[in-house]
């Protein structure tokens, strides 16, 4: 009995940690997998669904919490909110940091309050590595190459088009670490391309250079202990306008896909961020957490037809939270969020403000059940939105536990930072692009109910099994239905845009995860997820069909020495259907298809570090089976690709 209580105590401690941290991708997993860009982290997140047109800009949906259209999931860096989104694109690669400076990636898959934000649509918190003591410098080079170039056959009847290249990407940092202050000055310059035939064919108005992108992203982070607490200052900047130190001289721009236009637009995107978050500790069990940030995102067109198409979004965010972790664990807080919109074609500036107040408590209703509940009430103009969740964990035996997550979430349109937010505020973005649409009555307050039941079984320290059930119900859900009709003469899509402001539907799902350590240096994991519609209207069901019903991932990591590892991952995605493009296959002569067949994706990575881990090499092969891999019917078809990275790290060169 005593043993059981000790186990229960340890479990409660770990659960308390879980309430803070959620699931996470460790530094070892990040390193072994050899991922190259921040967006590659999605390949390690089996609970999230993603798609991309070009391999650089990804769209994500967390654990069935939203459609793939809705990009309202939250990105944080060390608990500091980062607003990188513009219109419906939230490109995680805009974050001015490279993967080699990431300690771990926390993922919130169930609605909860995390660092002052109610994560109703999922959250990713990128945790940076703490610098070593003294002065350190790092440098990193990475590049990738997709196979399938024409090579010498370009000059024969076996001619084919050139395909993607990735990079070169160069980053460097100067770092300082001590017990009380540590920080990093970071520079990153990267390049990417979207020159796949599938991209170019439907964008005949664009030139080759428009598909080539560059980005320059410096940042400064300083963390310091002061005033009885730890404080994290982060200044970040990312622009597609310039790219210093790059050997080639292409014009630089970014690309954004505007779904209602079914078209990509070359644009410049500039992101600026200044923020500080941290805590003041009153005692060992109570503290005041705070977060302040100002950021701006600017987007403007680079071509004459998108002249006078400049948009600026500025955001100011503040949050204050009191947290007690003593005998009674509770927290409460308040925050203010203000977004200002302006555009070159409208003299008026519009502001959207929220005020929110929230709180939560941990309690034990029964001896071996620990629960946490939290609520948030958000006020904006004449509207309010209520959000609440309950998380309960029942330790049945030392090996078996059950975890229940329930949430009810109201979302007002003002919370949705997307293309329609601009339109609702009088900025007719689509009219500027010549797109006809109907959007009458505005969006309503959405209501979502989520339930997750998980059971975990720990057979022994090296074998864990987790089985889960999930249910989601959405009402008044906003869905933009864009019917794209392919014109074989011009190769462009003509669109019909219908906005559904009161879509409703339900999702049910099942998951099973197995983690097994075969030897101390060899581990494997299996992760299966099933999602299906449990009712709803056709708009909702059409959206759900864009997410694979079955997703299976099998990963093996072999890590015999600190300086050497092998990693392999096989992912299966079941077929998906995008019913928004009628007669697509016939009209495009079979080039584009509505349905994507089942996909098997095998990735492999080998890592070797040299010179006491100062010199670090990684080689990653993606899509080894060399199937034509597609994530969206109108997106690129990816062949076998290879990615290489070389990193040099001089730690503590001056102490």
């Amino acid at each position: 009995m005593i043993r059981f209580k000790i186990v229960l105590l340890l479990f409660c401690v770990s659960l308390s940690g879980f309430a803070q941290t959620g699931s996470s991708i460790s530094n070892r997993q990040l390193i072994s997998s050899g991922i190259n860009r921040l967006s590659d982290v999605y390949t390690l997140m089996n609970d999230w669904d993603t798609y991309t047109f070009d391999g650089y800009r990804w769209y994500a949906s967390a654990n069935g919490l939203s459609s793939l259209q809705n990009q309202n999931w939250i990105l944080m860096l060390d608990g500091q909110i980062i607003d990188i989104g513009f219109f419906n694109l939230k490109n995680i690669n805009v974050l001015p940091l490279t993967i080699n400076h990431v300690d771990s990636v926390q993922i919130i898959n169930h609605p909860k309050i995390f660092s002052g934000k109610f994560a109703g649509d999922g959250l990713i918190n990128v945790r940076t590595l703490k610098q070593k003591n003294g002065l350190s410098v790092t440098g990193r080079y990475s590049a990738g190459n997709e196979t399938g170039d024409p090579g010498p056959y370009f000059y024969t009847e076996h001619y084919s088009s050139n395909v993607e290249e990735n990079g070169p990407n160069l980053s460097a940092s100067i770092e300082y670490g001590s017990d009380d202050i540590w920080g990093r000055l970071f520079f990153y310059t990267e390049s990417f391309s979207a020159t796949d035939t599938a991209m170019r064919k439907r964008n005949p108005q664009l030139s080759w250079g428009d598909f080539k992108g560059r980005r320059f992203s410096p940042s400064l982070q300083a963390v310091f202990n002061a005033l009885n607490g730890t404080h994290n200052l982060f200044l970040g900047y990312s622009t597609s306008e310039i790219q210093p130190f790059h050997p080639r001289t292409y014009t630089s721009n970014d690309l954004i896909f505007i779904n209602p236009a079914v078209k990509d637009y070359p644009v410049q995107m500039i992101f600026k961020h200044a923020g500080i978050n941290g805590s003041f500790d009153f005692s060992s069990n109570s503290c005041l957490n705070y977060s302040l940030k100002a950021s701006s995102n600017k987007l403007y067109g680079t071509r004459s037809e998108s002249d006078n198409f400049a948009h600026l979004k500025s955001n100011y965010y503040s949050n204050l939270e009191y947290r007690n972790s003593g005998q009674v664990k509770f927290f409460f807080g308040t925050g203010f969020d203000y977004t200002e919109l302006s555009a070159s074609y409208l003299s008026e500036e519009k502001g959207i403000g929220f005020f929110k107040t929230y709180g939560g408590i941990e309690f034990n209703l029964f001896e071996n059940v620990i629960s946490q509940t939290g609520t948030e009430i958000l006020f904006t103009k004449n509207k309010t939105a209520f959000k609440g969740y309950l998380k309960s964990c029942w330790q049945y035996t030392s090996k078996l536990w059950f975890d229940l997550n329930l949430a009810v979430i109201q979302t007002v349109p003002e919370e949705k930072s997307d293309l329609w937010q601009w339109i609702e505020n009088g900025y007719d973005v689509l009219e500027r692009l010549g797109v006809d649409y109907s959007f009458e009555g505005g969006r309503k307050r959405e209501l979502k109910f989520t339930a997750d039941l998980n059971a975990g079984y720990k057979l022994n320290p090296s074998f864990n099994l987790n089985v889960g059930l999930l249910y989601r119900n959405f009402s008044n859900y906003f869905i933009e239905e864009v019917i794209g009709i392919y014109n074989p003469d011009s190769s462009v899509f003509n669109s019909i845009v219908i906005t559904n402001t009161n879509s409703l539907g339900s999702i049910a799902g099942f998951s099973i995860k197995i983690n097994n350590k075969i030897f101390s240096s060899l581990a494997q994991s299996i992760d299966y997820r099933f999602l299906t519609s449990a009712g709803g209207d056709s708009s909702f069901k059409n959206q759900l069909e864009t997410i694979p019903a079955h997703k299976l991932s099998y990963a093996v990591t072999f890590n015999p020495f600190e300086s050497f590892s092998l990693w392999a991952n096989l992912t299966f995605l079941s077929p998906v259907s995008w019913s928004y493009f009628p007669e697509l296959e016939e009209l495009s002569g079979g080039f584009y298809k509505n349905n994507l067949n089942e996909r098997f994706i095998l990735d492999f990575s080998v890592r070797k570090w040299f010179w006491d881990n100062r010199l670090r090499f990684n080689l990653q092969f993606k899509n080894i089976l060399n199937n034509e891999l597609q994530y969206h019917p109108l997106g690129a078809k990816f062949n076998l690709s290879v990615f290489f990275s070389a990193e040099i790290v001089f730690n503590s060169i001056i102490n």
């Binding site: 060899l522 015999p560 050497f564 392999a568």
Partner: protein
């Protein structure tokens, strides 16, 4: 398959013997097969230089192969290639001071096109593509740590229409004991 291989690696791996020695070698390469590629180009032969060392399991090798290709017609440009590769394999001892190694490799095949006789798209003057290769290497110890090597290799270049080359190589190599600093560097 990986699960079957890993235990073997685990039992065979030996951190102490890894990087104990290293070899430097040079080969002459001659292309001996014929396929669609050879309707347009013929190889003028090539030269390979490499560095190899025992790994935790098996042997690893890094090398560069230069090979030039002459076009059969004026409609295609001549080009030369530079293959940078990384190889891993296992060596089996044979009688008469000889050994046989079976190796797998991956690399980047850089093609530099000659634009003197033909207009070549500036963006395509130089292209790189992934390769996968397999080879068998027969080595004979001719004197102390000097070896005579005969190699039969297969190379697949992942262009849209694949380039498949079978090469016969002949060369020599010398094995050295690694200085401590080199072992420290590799470990």
């Amino acid at each position: 398959m990986l699960l079957l291989i890993f235990p073997a690696i685990l039992t065979a791996q030996n951190r102490n013997s890894a990087f104990e020695t290293f070899s430097l070698g040079v080969n002459y390469q001659s292309n001996i097969n014929r396929n669609d590629f050879h309707k347009y180009w013929l190889s003028d032969g090539g030269i390979e230089g490499y560095f190899s060392t025992p790994f935790y399991f098996g042997k690893t090798q890094f090398g560069i192969t230069y090979m030039s290709f002459s076009a059969k017609s004026d409609d295609q440009p001549d080009f030369n290639s530079l293959l940078l590769y990384l190889q891993w394999g296992y060596k089996f001892g044979l009688p008469l001071n000889s050994s046989l190694a079976l190796n797998a490799s991956t690399g980047l095949f850089q093609m530099n096109f000659d634009d003197s006789d033909l207009y070549v798209d500036p963006g395509l003057l130089s292209e790189r593509e992934l390769t996968i290769g397999l080879n068998a290497l027969l080595s004979y110890s001719i004197y102390n740590d000097w070896y005579l090597n005969l190699q039969l290799s297969y190379l697949n270049v992942f262009t849209y229409k694949k380039i498949q080359l079978i090469n016969l190589g002949l060369g020599i190599s010398k094995t050295f004991r690694s200085p401590q600093w080199l072992k420290d560097f590799f470990n």
